[in-house]
């Protein structure tokens, strides 16, 4: 009989008392914050504020990150990719640093070394990503191995897309995690397109969660645009990881509204597909449900969005006013 740790399908455990009002409001606030920050970043990109660099919008995918990252502890690790700039926001990185990163200023956590949106933050254990696809999965799996060795109950959450599930490194990382029951949650944001390559040319599978069977741990597919569903699955997976039961692969079915990057007009996608997914907007959907329950009111919404707007404006001012690093820094931080 399959033990709890290697059964193929994960059954998420819903919060004991349902989802508290406090939790729902904090999920909503974070969804709005990610949406508003992301759209602001897109505006700034168009204003050529990012020194010629690109930006990788996650608009449309917010629930996948908010649901999985919102309850992480400060010491938990996050392994983001190029499309997970908002993971930093959710984990609590001061917003001014998030915008400084886009601007590549000296006040950015990596002093402008990385391209916009390739963001990490050492004080909160967010691994500065390389651009190599699935690289963050590999390093994150190594971190999980170390954490297990040290006997901690800290966990790792690694983010990646559908494309990343094809590359060898994905296989090697999950295989090792399965062998050693590592405390890592693999979150696949399946948005049906790896840049311009559609899912049908990427894999023979429809449900990427099935890949977990090959590695001996549970995989689960979830509506990635339903923040409560994502939250519930994530809570179960995080609890599994913390208690030593091992990894989980969560496939969040979602969609990115815009191109692979801001310079990609995404002409390879049909307009009908894009419009259909916009109707399933994770933010509007949740907002509507909260209004229906009267958890949210117009006044409360305004309070939330006004506060976020203030925060964003302050953060952008900070980024604008920050200096670029000096060229003399070129050879810094190569060696200890």
């Amino acid at each position: 009989m399959a033990s709890k740790s290697n059964r193929a399908v994960l059954e998420p455990e819903i919060e004991k008392n349902g989802h508290s009002t406090e939790l729902q409001l904090s999920l909503y606030r974070m969804l709005m914050k990610c949406r508003m920050c992301d759209e602001k970043a897109r505006v700034l990109f168009k204003q050529n504020k990012f020194a010629g660099g690109n930006f990788y919008s996650a608009v449309g995918q917010e629930a996948t990150e908010v649901g999985t990252a919102i309850s992480l502890r400060a010491d938990d690790w996050v392994a983001p990719s190029h499309r997970d700039w908002t993971a930093n926001i959710i984990k609590g990185v001061p917003l001014k640093f998030c915008f400084a990163q886009l601007y590549a200023k000296a006040t950015s956590p990596d002093r402008g070394r990385s391209s916009p949106a390739h963001m990490g933050y050492p004080p909160l254990n967010i691994i500065t990503p390389a651009s190599s696809i699935a690289g963050q999965l590999n390093v994150g799996t190594g971190v999980a191995l170390g954490l297990k060795r040290l006997g901690r109950d800290t966990v790792v959450v690694a983010y990646f897309g559908d494309g990343a599930t094809s590359i060898g490194g994905f296989h090697e990382a999950l295989n090792l995690a399965g062998v050693h029951r590592l405390p890592i949650i693999y979150v696949c944001q399946n948005n049906l397109w790896a840049e311009s390559v559609p899912l049908r040319l990427q894999t023979a599978l429809t449900d990427l969660s099935q890949r977990a069977v090959a590695y001996g741990f549970p995989g689960v597919s979830v509506d990635g645009n339903d923040v409560l569903a994502v939250y519930d699955v994530a809570q179960t997976a995080i609890a599994r990881a913390r208690s030593g039961e091992g990894p989980t692969l969560i496939e969040c079915k979602t969609y990115r509204w815009y191109g692979h990057s801001e310079i990609d007009p995404a002409r390879y996608r049909m307009k009908e597909e894009v419009e259909a997914w916009k109707k399933k907007c994770p933010v509007q959907r949740f907002e509507k449900a909260l209004f229906e329950k009267k958890t949210l009111t117009d006044a409360k919404k305004k309070e939330v969005t006004d506060e976020i707007t203030r925060e964003i404006n302050e953060a952008v001012d900070f980024a604008e006013q920050s200096p670029y690093p000096d060229a003399s820094e070129l050879m810094d931080h190569i060696w200890a």
Partner: protein, 328 residues
């Protein structure tokens, strides 16, 4: 107390002593556990320290290195093994895009103090895929340190230095030296500094810059030529990245002539880099061209004996190089 150990014995001793001394250290690789490594480099360690500290990994070089990188980021000191340098290629993305660049891309926020042991070099019958060195690829990556000892003393001392180094180090062990090199190795704790070459033989007529299995070959050639009145100075580089320019330049300024000897292929090898450094920084001191005696630009060491013999640099080739340079 002085006693002799083989080169591979020195490696085993270094690993065992460091596992004992530092709880954070652990080994990982293929066949390193109960098997003790395919050449015996980790013999007895699994028995003594267990699977927690000496771990057999899945067959996946990329995962071996990324497991090391990640676990070093939470404070451990992993020593992963690449069983043959010929199989380092699946791990190259992790080594070059992750390990070499982690500190730089995070402006010092993250680093990965890993030591990758890599068994390399041509031996009798190794063939195309058990004979490669491949050090040059990694010398080209700022952020990585690359070392290759040539003596048992250095094998232990450099390995301990590498494990304690806060930067990622690729520690290449030449398999032909494993049991053919034996010298005095102190029983206690000591390190050999990374980034420092060693003058193995003093001479006033010309400088031989070399490393790894070519050190004994160069020493033999130098001994032969000494009988003909030519005194060659032999410098064992020990560290390929960062190169010890001070020792190299000081030797060449003394002798005015230089040849570089390495087993690895000619083009874009260590010899090319040293030649460029010397021509830029010791131009006025040179009385002859900078020669390179190296492996051929053939894809790999073919197995059949006549081709293998032709591939591996022998004493005769080094002697011919010394004669040519001395005649200038």
């Amino acid at each position: 107390m002085a006693r002799t150990l083989t080169y591979i014995g020195a490696i085993t001793e270094a690993l065992g002593q460091e596992l004992e001394r530092d709880d954070r250290v652990f080994l990982l690789g293929e066949d390193i556990g109960p098997s003790g490594g395919v050449f015996g480099a980790t013999a007895g360690l699994w028995e003594k320290f267990g699977e927690e500290r000496v771990l057999d990994t899945p067959l996946a070089e990329g995962a071996i290195i990324s497991a090391a990188i990640g676990s070093s980021m939470v404070g451990l000191r992993p020593v992963p093994e690449i069983q043959f340098a010929d199989f380092i290629t699946p791990a190259v993305d992790q080594i070059i895009q992750q390990a070499a660049k982690l500190r730089y891309r995070s402006a010092g926020g993250f680093n990965c103090p890993i030591t990758v042991r890599v068994c390399c070099g041509a031996s009798g019958g190794g063939g195309l895929y058990h004979s490669q060195e491949n050090t040059a690829w990694f010398m080209h990556e700022p952020g990585l340190k690359v070392v290759m000892p040539a003596t048992a003393y250095d094998a232990k001392g450099l390995l301990l230095a590498a494990i304690r180094d806060p930067d990622p180090v690729l520690y290449f062990e030449h398999k032909r030296l494993y049991r053919n090199v034996k010298d005095e190795v102190p029983e206690g704790d000591y390190t050999v500094p990374i980034g420092k070459a060693a003058v193995r033989r003093e001479g006033r007529d010309l400088t031989i810059l070399t490393y790894g299995a070519m050190v004994p070959v160069s020493m033999q050639a130098a001994g032969d030529m000494s009988k003909k009145g030519v005194e060659a100075e032999v410098v064992d580089l020990r560290t390929l990245a960062p190169l010890d320019k001070d020792t190299v330049l000081s030797s060449v300024r003394k002798t005015s002539k230089c040849m570089i000897v390495h087993e690895d292929k000619r083009t874009m090898g260590v010899g090319g880099e040293l030649s460029a450094i010397l021509s830029e920084e010791a131009f006025e001191d040179l009385d002859g061209p900078i020669l390179r005696i190296t492996g051929p630009d053939a894809p790999a060491v073919a197995f059949t004996p006549p081709l293998q013999k032709a591939w591996i640099v022998g004493v005769d080739q080094v002697v011919a190089g010394i004669e040519r340079l001395a005649a200038y």
